[in-house]
Symmetry: C2
Subunit: 198 residues, 2 copies
DNA sequence: CCTAGAATGTGAGCGTGCTCATAAAGAGGT
DNA sequence: ACCTCTTTATGAGCACGCTCACATTCTAGG
């Protein structure tokens, strides 16, 4: 049984589409892997030839969204101050992630504290690395070259905190999240500057 | 079948002790609820008359530790500045939580983003409320009365971030965690002051 | 064509956390 | 003593995520 790369890619996309639909209609917990497999037209076990775990399916959906957001951000990357630039980046991410808002929580538990778990989670780790490299580059571009050692850990904590809040934010247009994001970045950038000047 | 409150309390403590031992010997995931029940001398189902979920057992262990830490903190609550006071509080907590360090991670996933889930998790929610009230009181005691609206959300994000780091910190005496805690509090307090002065 | 071998699909089955109908065991009234 | 009623303990059983021995399907070499 040999199958073309096209067919494999098609199956992968069918799984992602089916999973997205079911996660939206039900929830991450109530949509079972058996349901997803049936909706994608494959056997229950086959699902795990494509994704090593249920969470990895969400990571697959999320990776797409993050990729799109970064592509879009690179294009209109203006020349505001650091605050505004970071805000624009994360706002772009939230925009792309919006369809996944209700079921990204499982990912946060996985992506969150991975200071010890180097490459435990496959797709999720890439998301983290890519985002952090992008942010580090932006910080450098704005003239801050000597970061306090724990800077990026602190940044990541604040970033995931905003995402966690956003996932449960029921204010009209998730405007409460934007307020929290604004304050988080203000605090972080102020601290960055005060730490690198002396 | 009626049982004295003493017997119930004794069973509860036997469960907590057995669970603590097994979580330490194995891990949160590999120690099964059946194992815990057998070690406590009860049937598998009886366990769930005492704790609504496996995570709730960890919450029970943790609640004890947090309580002890707060009691100890109240006694030697000196009159340092806000930074030092918060550092002392959290350091006291970490000291008491140390035996649980390897398996508190499941709690963080539960306690972490609970901005939406009002009272979803029983013991865990109490831990959060108690800690936040204590911190809010300390902030007030140090002359800061008008908190920016998202202050406590930001604080909680930083606090759980430190705990998550600590849970996976393999540096000699978890000294890396203390460095992160120091910086986190410095950033937070600096931001608090700059926000409440104007 | 045929056949050997490799890659992928399949679903029965495992161990898990947790539930629920039922059994067992007191406390209180007569 | 006896019966009733309430509370707790029990373990068979459920649905889940995931695994693995096997079936199935295609390619390649003759």
């Amino acid at each position: 049984m040999r199958i073309t790369a096209d067919e494999k890619q098609a199956t992968r996309l069918r799984i992602l589409a089916a999973a997205g639909d079911l996660f939206r209609q039900h929830s991450f917990e109530t949509a079972t892997t058996r349901d997803i497999a049936r909706a994608a037209g494959i056997a229950a076990g086959t699902l795990f030839n494509y994704f090593p775990s249920k969470e990895a399916i969400v990571a697959g959906l999320a990776e797409d969204a993050w990729g799109k957001a970064h592509a879009r951000f690179q294009k209109l990357s203006g020349t505001g101050d650091l605050n505004e630039t970071l805000f624009a980046l994360i706002a772009a991410e939230l925009r792309e992630l919006k369809p996944l808002r209700k079921f990204v929580a499982p990912l946060l538990d996985t992506v969150l504290s991975p200071l010890a778990s180097a490459s435990a989670h496959h797709g999720a780790d890439d998301i983290r690395r890519e985002h952090l490299e992008l942010v580090a580059a932006l910080i450098r571009d704005h003239g801050i070259h000597e970061l306090p050692p724990v800077s990026m850990q602190l940044y990541w904590t604040l970033y995931t905190g905003v995402l966690a809040f956003w996932a449960g934010d029921n204010s009209p247009k998730q405007e409460d999240t934007l307020a929290l994001l604004d304050q988080s970045l203000a605090m972080f950038v102020q601290w960055l500057r005060s730490g690198s000047v002396p």
